[in-house]
């Protein structure tokens, strides 16, 4: 039996082909890598025989281990999976997370002149499959490396900002920089953005005394500078562009290039006091989006199952609770809050601040105890609520929800000439 990677001769009813047998998910087609590099699909029904000409030993990769250098900061790259470390997978034919962090170092040899870089794997999932169990693993991984000068976390981009917010809440008074990076183009391609994010994040750690959690991603579609974005006020705003990550109701903290030039944009206060880790996230929190014709049963389910709900409301914070037909939803919310449920209100506009008193309908929600979450992003509010419910008493969770703890809420709404960049 020939194995993928073997040099084979395939005999079909009318022809013979030589090449390297490729792994495939297909039951009906066999793929052969011809001498010219093309993969040829051959209908298995036509195949009479597959003769092995030469079995191939796997290619041994060079080891890139380097000795730590004095005077350079020590950085650990924690690997979680996702596109920043993904590769072609022959069982599915697509790109999946499977390469280790060591491969990142081979991919970006420049890192060795910026810092003494080591790697550690904390979990291995694409970011869409992240759960609070992985958050616990990441936090454990961080705790193992608190002696380092900085930590870079490679993360899939889809839920990267949720994780960044989670880490910001979980780690109070962090005395080192943690930069969460991702990649919108997988690292198996020459145009990957992964290397630049790694280099810029390392430079930012090497050249500044920043402490806390932030995100480091492309600032524009150009390969020139990365933006250091606030962990609790950023969002993935494009499905595929390199510069998908934007600060919302906020600004990047700084810009950094591959040479290590840092341009500060907004001041950050260094935390004082002892590191306090509160790593629990409650599964009893939910995020619910309001739509026209919103179904009462969805709200009923949420109120029965969860201790707290973040409502992604419309506009300034409205919910469909005002017509006679929507009265049951209003009463349901009122009862839920009376019995101790938390209802936080954030806006699906993303940009701007919710407001509890500017319309009668908003006041009706405020009157029954809904918490208006100011200019906090709905996703950040969800993560914050799960964290509050995991680590605090319910009453405290409710009172802390609309209070700024990690920069997730600002007290001013500065004017920006261009609403969307």
């Amino acid at each position: 039996m020939a194995n993928p990677g073997d040099l084979v001769k395939v005999v079909t009813s009318d022809k013979e082909f030589s090449g390297t047998l490729m792994p495939t998910k297909s039951d009906t087609t066999l793929f052969l890598k011809l001498e010219n590099g093309y993969n040829l699909g051959i209908d298995k029904k036509k195949v009479k025989e597959v003769k092995t000409i030469k079995t191939t030993a796997p290619v041994r990769k060079e080891s890139h281990s380097v000795k730590p250098r004095k005077g350079l900061k020590n950085i650990v790259i924690l690997y979680t999976g996702g596109t920043i470390a993904s590769k072609v997978d022959y069982t599915t034919g697509g790109v999946v997370a499977q390469s280790g962090a060591d491969e990142l170092l081979q991919f970006v040899p420049e890192l060795k002149d910026i810092a003494n870089v080591t790697t550690d794997r904390v979990c291995n999932v694409m970011s869409e499959d992240m759960s609070f169990a992985e958050y616990a693993q990441i936090i454990q991984g961080i705790q193992k490396h608190l002696d380092k000068d900085g930590i870079i976390i490679g993360h899939g981009t889809d839920t990267l900002t949720y994780t960044a917010a989670a880490l910001a809440f979980a780690l109070e008074n962090l005395h080192l920089p943690i930069l969460v990076i991702g990649s919108q183009r997988s690292s198996d391609r020459a145009s990957s953005d992964a290397a630049m994010h790694l280099i810029c994040a390392s430079q930012f750690i090497a050249k500044t005394d920043f402490k806390g959690v932030a995100i480091c991603m492309h600032h524009s579609s150009n390969d020139d500078v990365c933006a250091i974005l606030p962990a609790t006020k950023s969002r993935k705003m494009h499905t595929s562009r390199r510069d998908a990550f934007k600060a919302i109701n906020s600004e990047p903290l700084a810009l950094v290039d591959e040479k290590g030039t840092v341009k500060w944009i907004s001041a950050h206060a260094a935390p004082e006091g002892k590191l306090w880790v509160r790593e629990k996230f409650s599964p009893k929190a939910a995020l619910l989006k309001m739509t026209p014709n919103f179904d009462t049963e969805m709200l009923e389910f949420a109120t029965k199952r969860y201790d707290g709900i973040i409502v992604e409301a419309t506009g300034l914070g409205n919910m469909p609770t005002n017509t006679p037909g929507n009265q049951d939803k209003y009463l349901m919310l009122e009862q839920y809050i009376k019995k101790g449920g938390i209802v936080g209100i954030a806006s699906q506009c993303l940009n701007g601040r919710v407001h509890g008193t500017s319309y009668t309908n908003l006041r009706r929600l405020l009157n029954i105890g809904c918490v208006f979450c100011e200019d906090m992003l709905p996703e950040t509010a969800y993560i914050k609520l799960a964290w509050l419910l995991g680590n605090f008493k319910k009453e405290d969770a409710q009172s802390l929800l609309a209070k700024n703890l990690r920069g997730e809420i600002t007290d001013r709404s500065p004017y920006q000439e261009e609403l969307m960049e």
């Binding site: 093309y38 072609v88 020459a190 390969d223 390199r242």
Partner: protein
């Protein structure tokens, strides 16, 4: 000095790259190359990655060694996020895929059972993604030439690269309009007998590709590469021929270069060379290998079913269409040009309808009558429409206007002053009567003088041949 190709162990094949006139291969952008000011400006870098076998390609390493920054100019009208590597590709354009299958059938090649697009690593910046997407469509076709059958081992469908517009030490600048235009690659086996044979094969392949009716025309829309080696030498690929005629000259110069190297005891390197305007060639880069190819993971493989293949129409070849015109009495070179210009169908129709006119006369009318009408009657050639010409030809076919009056009629049609009565022919009895009167009025003149008098009498309305016959009869 005549080169004895056979005794030199000459081996050569050509590769033809032809742009298709469809939308782009992996997005819905129009495949137009224009010269409007670009409104998108980007700069990027590329890094070396290993292929699926874990090996790094030598050609890729060479390009990487240059460590350059790439600047990209693009127009938002012909470029979207796909070209600038900011969005995953769409499924391959169906029209392009069908044209590739059509091409495969035209070369009698075997279409693969399942098409898999590959990424061919290219680190010179000409592909923003760092690779060119390419798929093997068919294997083992052939082409018949004057020097025998030439094998066509592979037919591929790939995306066109970006156009280089500036190179400095620090950066290379490209324009992206062209990037992503579908390209069919037809490669011959190393069966070409001599330098002239390479030209012939290249020309024939180009002509067959044109038969699909889906190819782009104009400078740069078709490109030829030549692979060649001689005994004791090594395989060299030459790119960038100015035109078909330069192929034999560049090949001969390359043979002479290799012979000189071998004579001096040097090794001929396996490499890619660029054809220069003086027919010599210069070193371009190392020859790429198989390690530079890995599967395009954004596009699922495409099974080619029997149903799909049987729905592909095989177009009539240009050469065959031209033969039909030749049968109508049209010169063979002219016939091929007419087919290329897409005029063969119209011409065949006309020849069928205008039974009293020769096909060559019809072609000639199309080519020269507007010019004649301009010269003699001062109309603008640009104002002459096809329908005007068809009207004049129909009138001539029905003998309603004399052939020597066609330019005048055309001018009148263009000016809107045409009246059929102005050209009313002279009846035979009228003609005979007039000839008789002229002979009686001025007896004893020579026939030439009589002809002058007759033609003057009718003001050119009478056909000269007819008048001569009437004169002979009366004399």
């Amino acid at each position: 000095m005549a080169i004895d190709y056979a005794s030199l162990g000459f081996k050569a094949g050509v590769e033809i790259h032809q742009q298709l006139d469809t939308r782009k291969l992996f997005c819905n952008c129009p495949s137009i190359v224009h010269d409007v000011e670009p409104d998108i400006h980007l700069h990027r870098k590329l890094r070396l990655v290993s292929g699926e076998s874990g090996q790094i390609d030598e050609a890729a390493l060479f390009e990487k060694a240059k460590e350059k920054e790439f600047l990209y100019d693009a127009c938002s009208t012909s470029c979207c996020l796909v070209e600038i590597d900011e969005e995953p590709v769409k499924l391959p354009n169906d029209e392009a895929l069908r044209t590739a299958l059509q091409t495969a059938l035209l070369f009698h090649a075997n279409v693969v059972d399942e098409i898999q697009f590959m990424r061919k690593t290219v680190l010179d910046g000409s592909n923003v993604s760092g690779f060119q997407r390419t798929a093997l469509i068919a294997l083992d076709g052939y082409l018949d030439t004057s020097k025998g059958r030439v094998s066509i081992p592979t037919i591929c469908l790939e995306e066109e690269s970006a156009k280089k517009i500036e190179t400095t030490k620090e950066y290379t600048k490209y324009r992206l309009d062209r990037l992503g235009i579908p390209l069919i690659e037809v490669a011959t086996g190393p069966d070409l007998k001599d330098a002239e044979h390479a030209r012939e094969a290249a020309e024939k392949i180009g002509l067959i590709l044109r038969s699909t009716g889906k190819v782009k025309r104009g400078i740069g829309t078709i490109r030829q590469d030549v692979n060649l080696s001689i005994q004791g030498g090594n395989r060299v690929e030459i790119k960038g021929f100015q035109d078909l005629r330069s192929i034999p000259k560049v090949i001969d110069c390359e043979i002479e270069r290799q012979l000189r190297e071998l004579k001096a005891g040097k090794k001929v390197e396996k490499e890619v060379r660029k054809a220069e305007p003086d027919f010599t060639s210069s070193y371009l880069r190392p020859m790429p290998g198989a390690a530079r190819m890995y599967p395009e993971t954004d596009v699922p493989t495409i099974p080619i079913t029997k149903e799909m293949l049987s729905s592909i129409e095989v177009p009539e070849l240009i050469e065959d269409q031209a033969k039909e015109l030749e049968a109508l009495g049209i010169d063979s070179k002219l016939a091929i040009n007419l087919v290329k210009e897409g005029k063969s169908e119209m011409l065949k129709n006309l020849a069928g309808k205008l039974k009293n006119l020769k096909a060559s006369f019809i072609v000639d009318t199309f080519n020269s009558l507007p010019g004649a009408a301009k010269k003699d009657f001062g109309i603008e050639e640009a104002h002459v429409k096809e329908e005007h010409l068809l009207q004049v030809l129909t009138l001539a076919n029905e003998d309603k206007i004399p052939k020597n009056q066609m330019a005048r009629a055309l001018a009148a049609l263009v000016n809107g002053t045409f009246k059929e009565s102005d050209y009313a022919g002279v009846s035979d009895t009228e003609l005979e009567k007039a000839v008789k009167e002229i002979l009686e009025k001025a007896p004893g003149l020579n026939p030439g003088a009589y002809m002058g008098l007759i033609m003057k009498h009718f003001g050119g309305k009478v056909d000269g041949k007819k008048a001569m016959e009437a004169l002979k009869k009366a004399m």
